[in-house]
Symmetry: C2
Subunit: 330 residues, 2 copies
DNA sequence: CTGAAAGCGCTTACAG
DNA sequence: CTGAAAGCGCTTACAG
């Protein structure tokens, strides 16, 4: 009635469970005859090894825990796709747990992984490093993604927001823009913060005028930002939004107001979502799948005993399209 | 040196492991004093229960296996998002395994789940039902998604492609179109097949002219389809593409050829990807996340002992936008 | 080459 | 209310 176990196979093949185990795991020291008898019993019974029991015995699960916050579509699917690609290549399964909301729940999600995975990939912007350390099983190899870590802390991998923002500013300057606006992302968000920071510094370094206005990554906030700039008669010749959604909204808002893009105002975003390509918006391409792949790869090395290493930056790439054409101002 | 176990906690709290287990699982029959001693030992040792061992003992993992083929971004993230939402609501984790390519690998992916999950959600268009039955642990509750099943077979859930295609045709007819083109999806694909089938039937039922031309869900194939229709001087006043990508390409191809949309030719797609909304393309909205949610929910009920039930259809919704405006022909 | 036995870290009747 | 013991389904030294 219930699924066959290794004992059923042993009984049927008339050998011990030890021998079945050896035969199944292709150890050398099993006679061919025995091996065949075991194989036949396995077939007859439709036996499938119980991975859970095997894991307990080996202290090894061949699974990686992946803990992610609520992510927007593109980012989520791309990062998981990358992780999955590398995982299947290296013989691991992915145990997924999304962090909806509250801190306590987030901590629980981490605890629930103990004994089911060999290591964890964690992206938990809502937890501080102290809270993380508290919630993480002590001896479980863990790699942090886009999470604020202290100097010399846990091994981690970060998107290089600063390099991306810098590249955008330098590009805008190179096409002759002199008054740049940055529509920022939401307050607590570390990516948004790094992009805004780097924007300020790059503008200062390049000696161009600049201003940072508030946004929250939503299209509505992009529209609102442009609206209030125009309302108060601000002068600017370039808008760099902290993500593509806001850049798209900005583009529409500008054109609706009769402002020509890129002739009067250049527009750039961040992320390179499919829509950005379709609308010809210049942006910063983040190879998210590669980031996931790299994170998984490093974690598995870690599990295998490699040196932890420190923080690693994942470089994005500037993509120039029609919204920042050299145009009339250039 | 190694992570603390229940025995360490028992030793420290000076009780038996049985008592620790009871205290941890909040059973009634533990004195308050004992309970406190255990809690303190747990805290001091930073003890975290080993979920793997617990599962083996309980014959219950609180995890669901999810086996999906290589999926394009939007669909993948949405269906996993829906599953995850319901899973976290009901206290389950998701064990993910993507099926890249070959059949044998697909079968192995299924086997690897045995003993790690309480049930499986499987979308495996590359396997026949016989191959599936072969590869699936016999007694593991399984729900199939968008997979070809025979009458009265395993419990499953399907996207109702026929209802969607029918709705599009009826809408096109209602705005006065009389010669409809369907750009089909790839040959072996069951969704594509159902959409094309339903298209043919609905056209016949509504007594309008129609033709099905080849496509493969890619934008290029949509462009090519329109190109050859125009080249041979075909006459038509509506194009229904089997997905939004092809609809988008068709829209561009038509307009490049100087054909007005929707005045001369109406255009509709299937899926409702974000780009479709931006370009104002009429389409069929598939609430993918809801499909995932529903699938997970049904599976958990199944695990809990509910009646298997048969195949269930997930209804999509017609979304009318500017590419099928009533327009001049209406 | 093969088997008996201990062990992986839990849970849970069974006694008391 | 609590403990000793068996059991979940595997693996692996240890003997032979």
């Amino acid at each position: 009635m219930t699924e066959a176990t290794i004992r059923d196979v042993a009984r049927r093949a008339q050998v011990s469970v030890a021998t079945v185990s050896r035969a199944l795991n292709r150890l050398e020291n099993v006679s061919e005859q025995t091996r065949n008898r075991v194989a036949e019993a396995v077939r007859e019974l439709g036996y499938i090894p119980h991975a859970g029991a095997r894991s307990l015995s080996l202290a090894r699960t061949n699974a990686i825990g992946v803990v992610l916050p609520d992510l927007h579509g593109e980012f989520f699917s791309e990062i998981v796709r990358g992780m999955d690609r590398e995982a299947s290549r290296r013989g691991y399964l992915l145990l997924l747990s999304n962090l909806h909301g509250r801190k306590q729940q987030a901590a629980n999600a981490l605890l629930a992984m103990r004994g089911r995975v060999d290591g964890m990939l964690v992206m938990a912007p809502q937890l501080s490093e102290a809270e993380l350390s508290e919630a993480l099983p002590a001896r479980l190899p863990t790699l942090l993604i886009n999470t604020r870590t202290q100097e010399g802390g846990r091994p981690s991998i970060h998107l290089d927001n600063r390099a991306g923002a810098r590249a955008v500013v330098e590009h805008l300057v190179s096409i002759g823009r002199k008054r740049l606006i940055h529509i920022a992302g939401p307050d607590g968000n570390i990516d948004a913060q790094e992009r805004a920071d780097a924007f300020r510094r790059a503008c200062a370094a390049n000696k161009v005028g600049y201003e940072v206005v508030a946004g929250d990554f939503s299209e509505d906030s992009g529209t609102a930002a442009i609206g209030s700039l125009i309302a108060r008669g601000a002068e600017f010749d370039a808008v760099f939004a902290a993500n593509d959604n806001m850049a798209i909204a900005a583009l529409h808002a500008l054109r609706s107001a009769g402002i020509r893009v890129p002739e009067q105002v250049a527009v750039a975003g961040f992320d390179d979502i499919p829509l950005a390509r379709h609308l010809g918006i210049s942006t910063v391409r983040v190879r998210i799948a590669e980031l996931g792949e790299r994170a998984l790869g490093r974690l598995i090395d870690l599990i295998a005993g490699a040196e932890p290493g420190g923080d690693e930056l994942h470089a994005p790439e500037l993509v120039v399209r029609s919204t920042t054409d050299r145009g009339s101002t250039g």
